[in-house]
Amino acid sequence: MPPMITRTLAVIAVGAAITATAAAGHPEITRAGLERALAPTFANLYVQQSHLLGIPGITTATIGAGASCDRGGPAVADTGAGPNWICMMSWTDDHGRHQDGKFEVTVKTDATYVAGGPSKIVGLATITDTHGHDVPNPVFEFDGVIDAGS
């Protein structure tokens, strides 16, 4: 076969494969998947923060975090990657009070995400630990992964 025909066929085959898989695929990043990933991650990091601050008696069980996520308002389907995910997190804080905080979440196509917490509730980017050192606040902004297969 002349190279021109081989190349044209290859380009058509690649184009067809992308079109076919794009049409046959379904979104693997879902609202439920993100909520399942985000809430325990926040709880674990909140425990880590309380250790840094020297607050005793905080465990993931006492925090009881739950997340409710939405992507881009009511007009957009709550699936897929994008920078416009908003998650409302509710949990019990270190004083036993109920808290609701809005997290801005950017989900990437590789099913990892970056979540930013509300600094009024979770604190600023840097906190002072029990030794008096300035350390990054673990719940201010954090990476996580969504198990898209479950």
Partner: protein, 280 residues
């Protein structure tokens, strides 16, 4: 005594393989790449560690100052973008095309080796060399991270704390997941090296294709398409750092890498077998 077919075939491949390794070892480029894989990670780790602001746009970048185990993961995520495809292509993209460039195909094939022997000798040499480069790169990165930053506990991707001993195994495993797609990119570079007969194209084209796949993989709504890309297996380590580790992307990544490797090698083999070499 009349040698059997198998014993008669083995010396052909062995001799061809030995010569390919000798040729590769004599190349300044292959030695320079190996040295770069050893030294560059140390420099990068030292520079990143010295910076005030951590590189938080890449996964684990935010944690590099807090744990020496985060640095190799940041490097892995960064290197997967174009460094690993480039490392895979530097030797593999050149190994067949250099015979065209120097006009040495006829000289090579008039020796007592067949095209099949030459094909496998070059393929095995390229894959072996690339795995060596990957291993050196990974070991240097991990060692630099642990020695320069330290062995603090690592925060996992579910916010859980991972003890240093376990974290070390996890980051070694994470780097090991890059083996399959690296072999895939090696096979792609070998195919391009044979088809284009041009070393520069053989080296540059896999990197460009890797970039293109990365770009395609970052487009939303292509969840099934991105599973078939050769760059996606480079991300399959994420699941190992979950509180409840999941290996679905790992299994898919292995299958996809194997598919790319076999397809590229088969096409490369057929192309080399059918080529008219009498032209020189």
């Amino acid at each position: 005594m009349i040698p059997t077919t198998t014993t008669a075939r083995t010396p052909g491949l062995r001799a061809a393989l030995r010569w390919e390794i000798v040729k590769l070892a004599a190349q300044a480029r292959s030695r320079a790449l190996l040295a770069a894989a050893l030294i560059l990670p140390v420099v990068v780790v030292a520079v990143v560690n010295g910076q005030e602001q951590p590189p938080s746009d890449t996964i684990y970048g935010r944690l590099v100052h807090l744990s020496g185990y985060a640095m190799p993961l940041l490097m892995l995520a960064f290197a997967a973008q174009w460094v690993l495809p480039l490392l895979a292509a530097v030797v593999a993209g050149d190994i067949f095309a250099s015979e065209d460039q120097h006009g040495t195909w006829k000289t090579l094939l008039t020796r007592s080796v067949s095209r099949t022997h030459v094909f496998w000798a070059k393929t095995l040499t390229a894959i072996g060399y690339n795995l060596l480069v990957l291993a050196v790169f990974a070991a240097s990165t991990i060692a630099a991270g642990l020695l320069i930053i330290g062995t603090q506990p690592l925060t996992g991707l579910s916010g859980q704390t991972i003890a240093p001993a376990h974290a070390l195994w996890l980051i070694i495993a994470a780097w090991a997941t890059a083996i399959a797609p690296t072999i895939g990119f090696t096979a792609l570079a070998l195919l391009l090296s044979i088809r284009t007969r041009n070393a520069a194209l053989g080296i540059a084209a896999p990197v460009v294709l890797g970039f293109t796949m990365q770009l395609l993989g970052s487009v939303g709504g292509l969840d099934l398409t991105r599973k078939f890309l050769l760059t996606t297996p480079f991300e399959s380590w994420h699941g190992m750092f979950d509180q409840h580790p999941f290996t679905g992307p790992l299994a898919t990544g292995l299958a996809v890498s194997a598919g790319w490797t076999l397809t590229c090698l088969a096409a490369a083999y057929v192309s080399l077998r059918r080529r008219d070499i009498t032209e020189g």
